[in-house]
């Protein structure tokens, strides 16, 4: 069953086109950042799907986004400009970094499918004023969705949306717990296929599969050495080629590794936190969830609250080291990286830094990761 995630990842457009055919009366909205409240879209019976890049070289974004902005945002825009999402009914973004906003803006100007919405998401998430503000923005979003769909929604619809998303989050978290094992029954690549598949599919179809995979993983034994246990920390990162390279190093070299945990917006920053269903007002509960979730570094101030969670992940998943990955030109992460590395290293977790572009430099990165793994071996020898 676990292969289903890879199938969904690789065939996202086929899945989504098929979903449209199976649900001819329903709409599909592409979202650009994990600050989009999917719960509200599900409440309207709209399918939210995340737009990720394709990691392919492209030449269509240069007139639209100045080259100093991150390769990821340009890759995302390329998907729109190349017409890969012509089946979408709308697009939206919950404001995060200004890089990704540009992909959304250019898409809005040149490929607007007929409905678009920019959602101001508070930057000062540590302020008590953030939740009421966001709730106000959600009310505007709901009004606009009501006008678009001709439907009105109730608290019960919102609670249904919350339940759909919380179920998916819980299913993934259960699987992540299994990665704590000495010999994790799921690799980093497989985990990444899973979390990305959730972006691309209807959560109501994803969750039952994830639950079955969880059951299967109870007895699954992988015929591969675990090697060093690594954590990935950083910006958007669905660079599966890189993870695959790391996890197959042992086939070619005397060192090897398994990615057992990540702290980035393709996985845990996206799904780790659930909506608190004990809060009576569902809209407030959703707003609270997005304000209190582990923040993108652009919103993580005045206190750098991410550090505690990163360290806790490192300890709980018993990692030997962390690879700090960054999309080239990603300012929010660039401002945090020296402090993330310092925090982890001062707490006994060695780090290694890599800068990513649209395509993965597998060869050079293999040498660098191998060298990092060797330093981890050396420490073991010494002590």
């Amino acid at each position: 069953m676990i292969e289903k995630f890879e199938e969904w990842y690789r065939n996202r457009h086929e899945y989504q086109t098929d979903w449209k055919q199976r649900n001819p009366d329903k709409k599909m909205v592409g979202f650009f950042c994990t600050y989009t409240p999917e719960e509200i879209f599900y409440a309207f019976d709209i399918l939210p799907v995340r737009v990720l890049g394709s990691h392919e070289i492209q030449d269509v974004t240069e007139p639209h986004i100045f080259a100093m902005f991150c390769p990821y945002c340009r890759d995302v825009l390329a998907q729109g400009l190349k017409g890969k999402y012509e089946y979408l009914d709308g697009i939206t973004i919950g404001a995060s970094c200004i890089h990704l906003r540009q992909a959304y803006f250019s898409w809005d100007i040149h490929r607007n499918p007929g409905w678009s919405h920019y959602l101001p998401m508070p930057g000062h998430v540590q302020s008590p004023r953030a939740i009421p503000f966001l709730k106000g923005e959600y009310e505007l979003l709901i009004k606009k969705l009501e006008e678009w769909t001709g439907k009105t929604i109730t608290d019960a619809d919102l609670k249904r949306g919350i339940s759909i998303m919380n179920d998916a989050r819980r299913a993934m978290k259960k699987i992540y717990e299994l990665r704590k094992q000495d010999a994790p029954p799921i690799t980093g690549v497989e985990s990444m296929y899973m979390t990305c598949a959730q972006f691309f599919t209807d959560a109501r179809e994803f969750t039952p599969v994830a639950e079955r995979v969880y059951d299967e993983l109870q007895t699954r034994k992988l015929d591969r050495p675990v090697g060093k246990r690594l954590m990935l920390v950083g910006s958007e990162n669905d660079d599966l080629e890189f993870i695959h390279m790391v996890e197959t190093l042992a086939e070619r070299e005397p060192v090897g590794a398994t990615i057992v945990m990540e702290e980035h917006c393709t996985t845990t920053r996206y799904f780790w936190d659930e909506v608190d269903t004990s809060i009576e007002d569902p809209l407030e509960a959703i707003a609270e969830r997005y304000v209190l979730r582990t923040p993108c570094p652009s919103k993580d101030w005045p206190r750098r609250s991410r550090l505690d969670r990163i360290l806790q992940f490192g300890k709980d998943w018993n990692v030997d080291g962390a690879i700090v990955v960054q999309q080239k030109f990603c300012d929010p992460h660039e401002a945090d990286i020296p402090f993330v590395r310092k925090h982890l290293e001062s707490n006994g977790i060695p780090t290694y830094f890599l800068e990513f572009d649209v395509t993965t430099a597998v060869g050079p990165f293999a040498i660098r990761v191998e060298a990092f793994l060797e330093t981890l071996e050396a420490e073991e020898d010494l002590f």
């Binding site: 100093m68 902005f69 508070p122 000062h124 990286i337």
Partner: protein
């Protein structure tokens, strides 16, 4: 060949003195028993000023620009920042600022004066992070409060002014006052605060009025000079002397217009620019003038601190009128500051490049611009967001547009000769002839 009479600005030396005094007062504040704070040029600086007249500030962007102007010093600061582990594509003002702390050198002389607290605003990804890291680099014991102003576009770019958006900013400002009392152990002076709020409104309104005068032909001000004048809004817009200075400047520029005094006596064509210039190479503006092209300003110099309103129906861009009444209470003062600054022209493009394109097109039309020069500024992601779409939008509207790539605060990313060549080609296309 001179077409128009010209003369230096009478208040030029006063501007220099005021600027030097501002930086000196920051470094000497502790000696006089006062407090020092650091923050963004867009910070609502009237807020900390309610703590007392002996509270002095440094704003990171103009300070970063001053560092960049001194290229060898800037190189030292940038290297220190990179050695610490920061990426070299981060905001170059910010890297110059952090480098100053790391090298412990104040660009105006002496050691870098450590701030007692940081107070900023946040709209681009770097604003609050700048001071979060500066606080850490200054020893980790400097407290920070930042106001998120990313509350959405202002009318006419939003269908209406939504109450919860202004309230979000107002309430953060009120929280900031409570926080300031706590971290400084001082009692807040509401009367002084309200005076500063009014100074803020006065200076940002008057600056816009001054820029309106540049619609005249010949332009009474050129953009290279404007850089030395707009800066007061970025240093401390609530400063009484700066608000007064702008009123004095307004009178002088009005007089220049009435007498037909040109900034560039050979003015034949008018261009406008966009985003911060490469500060170490301001001579490119004199190069433009050698061709008879005067840069009359930009949405950046006009609207970074100047307060304007875009009128959708008339496609007009005019100074936002002064509020009818002065605020009387702390709550009213914070509400006025929140609302006033949310309408800032340079905030609007964070929500869509089309908003900026519309304002730029209106500017080009009403200021009689022949060509537009866009600086693809690698040093500032915040003001170059959407700039490529601005180019496309302006071209679509029939404007002639040139771009060049550079960096406002990192000389390694600016090619002066290549830029001059691009300028040559562009000005020729505008019908000008290369000077002998």
């Amino acid at each position: 060949m001179a077409k128009y009479p010209t003369e230096p600005l009478k208040c030029w030396s006063k501007a220099k003195e005021l600027r030097e005094k501002f930086y000196r007062e920051f470094s000497e504040a502790h000696e006089k028993g006062g407090l020092r704070w650091m923050g963004s040029a867009w910070a609502h600086d009237a807020i900390p000023q309610g703590l007392g007249r002996d509270v002095k500030c440094i704003t990171g962007e103009p300070y970063g620009a001053s560092c960049a102007f001194d290229r060898p010093l800037s190189a030292e600061f940038l290297a220190a920042t990179e050695n610490y582990g920061f990426a070299r594509d981060l905001c170059s003002y910010m890297r110059n600022y952090w480098g100053s702390i790391l090298v412990n050198k104040y660009a105006l002389g002496g050691e870098f004066p450590k701030a007692d607290f940081a107070f900023s605003q946040h709209i681009c990804c770097s604003h609050a992070k700048w001071y979060q890291n500066a606080c850490e680099l200054e020893g980790g014991d400097v407290p920070l409060f930042a106001i998120d102003v990313g509350a959405g576009p202002y009318p006419p770019f939003a269908p209406k002014l939504y109450e919860h958006r202004v309230k979000y900013v107002q309430e953060q400002l009120l929280d900031a006052i409570d926080w300031l009392e706590k971290v400084t152990n001082r009692t807040y002076d509401d009367e002084l605060f309200l005076e500063c709020v009014w100074n803020d409104v006065r200076s940002t309104h008057t600056w816009a009025k001054i820029c309106m005068l540049n619609r005249a032909v010949p332009a009474p001000l050129d953009e290279k000079s404007i850089y030395s004048l707009y800066v007061f809004g970025t240093l401390q817009k609530s400063h009484p002397e700066f608000a007064d200075f702008y009123e004095e400047l307004y009178d002088e520029v009005t007089d220049r217009v009435q007498r037909g005094i040109a900034a560039c006596p050979t003015e034949q064509a008018r261009v406008m620019s966009d985003t911060q210039p490469p500060w170490g190479f301001l001579r490119i503006y004199r190069y433009l003038e050698s061709w008879g092209a005067v840069s009359i300003g930009s949405l950046y110099t006009f609207g970074l601190e100047g307060m304007w309103l875009y009128d959708d129906e008339r496609d007009e861009f005019e100074p936002r009128p002064m509020p009818a009444e002065k605020p009387k209470t702390r709550e009213e003062g914070c509400m006025l500051l929140a609302d006033w600054h949310l309408s800032k022209p340079e905030y609007q493009h964070f929500y869509h490049p089309e908003y900026k394109t519309r304002m730029m097109a209106a500017m080009a039309k009403h200021w009689g611009v022949n060509g537009i020069i866009l600086h693809y500024n690698r040093g500032c992601e915040g003001l170059s967001v959407g700039i490529a779409e601005n180019r496309l939008g302006l071209l679509k509207r029939g404007f002639k547009v040139m771009t060049y790539e550079g960096n406002m605060g990192d000389e390694r990313e600016f090619d002066e000769k290549a830029t001059e060549t691009r300028i040559d080609i562009f000005l020729e296309a505008l019908g000008l002839q290369k000077p002998e």
